[in-house]
């Protein structure tokens, strides 16, 4: 096998024929839009059904490349329940040409899907420990599959705490689901916003300010964080200050991804490729480059 073919070979115990390994990861599968749900004024959840009927199984934290035919392709985390892979659920914010086009899709439209790609949140490693999830803005979407798994296997974990920050009350993602989770006795959910209108009767302040008083045992906690990189920098500092060991802090990183199989190098992050080595990294593994600007 040539080095190029080796580079795109999926990491699997079962080797895939060389010709197929090059073609499959780059070949989008058609999915039909079943439902488009407006989460906020600029964020939408798409429910997609595979045209060939084969569900796309995934692990919490993985992403797909969504292809809007004739416009382009973007990497979007899967936000659905890994225990119910069909329909395939993605939550995305309309910020560029492709995502605006994807958010404008209607029921019956078809998109291309490549994936799933990347690694997963370390939930097996978190078993037996407290778990704290720190979500900022749309960072809640890639964490949602992990929350589904944590709740489905709730007895395996200690205390589970979700700290979620949004820009304003109007920007809160999955509001009804957060309310439902909040009513459970086995899950602590704390929501805060950076800016609040007069009728908001909740917390105001950045999500990192919730870390010092959240109910978890720092010495026995696995922390999962996803959100803007600046937020994650401050979150790691607060988690460390609270006493969470750096090797138990995991971050979901984001860079511009093109091929998603570690081939093109667009998502290179120091010695790592976000697409194939990540997107989830233990903080300890990236700490030396995490504070460097423009990596």
């Amino acid at each position: 096998m040539t080095p190029l073919l080796e580079a795109v070979q999926p990491r699997s115990a079962e080797p895939v024929p060389a010709a197929a390994s090059l073609a499959d990861p780059m070949l989008p599968r058609p999915f039909e839009v079943r439902r488009v749900q407006a989460e906020t004024y600029d964020t939408y959840t798409l429910e997609l059904a595979p045209a060939d009927g084969r569900p796309l199984r995934f692990r919490p934290g993985q992403f797909n490349m969504l292809y809007l035919f004739g416009v382009g392709e973007v990497a979007i985390s899967i936000s659905g329940d890994p225990g119910r892979p069909s329909p395939l659920v993605h939550t995305l914010r309309a910020v560029g040409a492709v995502t605006r086009g994807l958010c404008a899709l209607k029921k019956g439209d078809v998109v291309g899907v490549r994936g799933p790609f990347g690694n997963e949140w370390p939930l097996d490693e978190a078993a037996g420990h407290d778990v704290v999830l720190v979500a900022g803005g749309i960072g809640l979407a890639p964490l949602r599959p992990a929350i589904y798994r944590l709740l489905a296997e709730r007895k395996r974990f200690g205390r589970v705490v979700l700290l979620s920050g949004s820009r304003s009350p109007q920007d809160i993602l999955f509001r009804h689901e957060l309310e439902r989770w909040r009513s459970r006795f086995d899950l602590e959910v704390v929501v805060t916003v950076d800016y609040a209108a007069g009728d908001w009767n909740g917390l105001v302040g950045v999500v990192t300010t919730l870390i010092p008083r959240a109910g978890f045992d720092p010495t026995d906690t696995v922390a999962l964080a996803c959100g803007p990189e600046v937020m994650m920098r401050f979150a790691t500092r607060e988690l460390e200050r609270r006493g969470v060991p750096t090797e138990r802090i995991y971050l979901s990183m984001e860079r511009n991804m093109k091929c998603a199989v570690g081939f093109c190098g667009h998502c290179q992050y120091g010695p790592h490729f976000i697409c194939k080595d990540g997107p989830i990294f233990p903080y300890r593994a990236i700490a030396p480059i995490f504070e460097i600007r423009e990596v």
């Binding site: 004024y41 600029d42 900022g136 803005g137 749309i138 920050g165 949004s166 820009r167 304003s168 109007q170 920007d171 805060t192 950076d194 800016y195 609040a196 209108a197 007069g198 009728d199 908001w200 009767n201 909740g202 917390l203 105001v204 302040g205 950045v206 990192t208 300010t209 010092p212 008083r213 959100g227 803007p228 600046v230 937020m231 401050f234």
Partner: protein, 167 residues
Amino acid sequence: MSLQPLSALLAQTPLFQGLPAEDLELIAGCASNVKFDAGDFLFREGGPADTFYLVRHGNVSIEFFAPGRGPVTIQTRGEGEVIGWSWLFPPYTWSHDARAFELTRALAFNADCLRGKCDKDPRLGYELMKRFGQIVHERLEATRLQLLDLYGGDRDPAPRGRTAAKR
């Protein structure tokens, strides 16, 4: 049933954790238990900063009143957190409002009493100043992060005429 002395309560709070028992006794001599219903003001901008609070239960919003915009909530503070540090610095007047937005129980500290004890015992005064300095540092850091408008978006998150933390 025996009541827990205030000094024992203080020892469990992040602000006073680790202080020697004699310091806790001194500080407890300036403290009392207070309760605020939802909507009650702990203090208002321009008023004398003669008390500061340590929240035991509940949540308090730190607000500014902006004409034409109404009360502007900057941050909220909850259990174990300090409300107010203007009592430390002349002219000892509050620079913002603090309002309970739910039933809140707190320890109230008489500023004159505590400043007097700090003047008499500079070691205690320095220790408290270090601890309040840490709080000021953390709040400033959080406010800077808030000003970054981390999550972006095209829409004004707090339209004029309603509460806004940043314009």
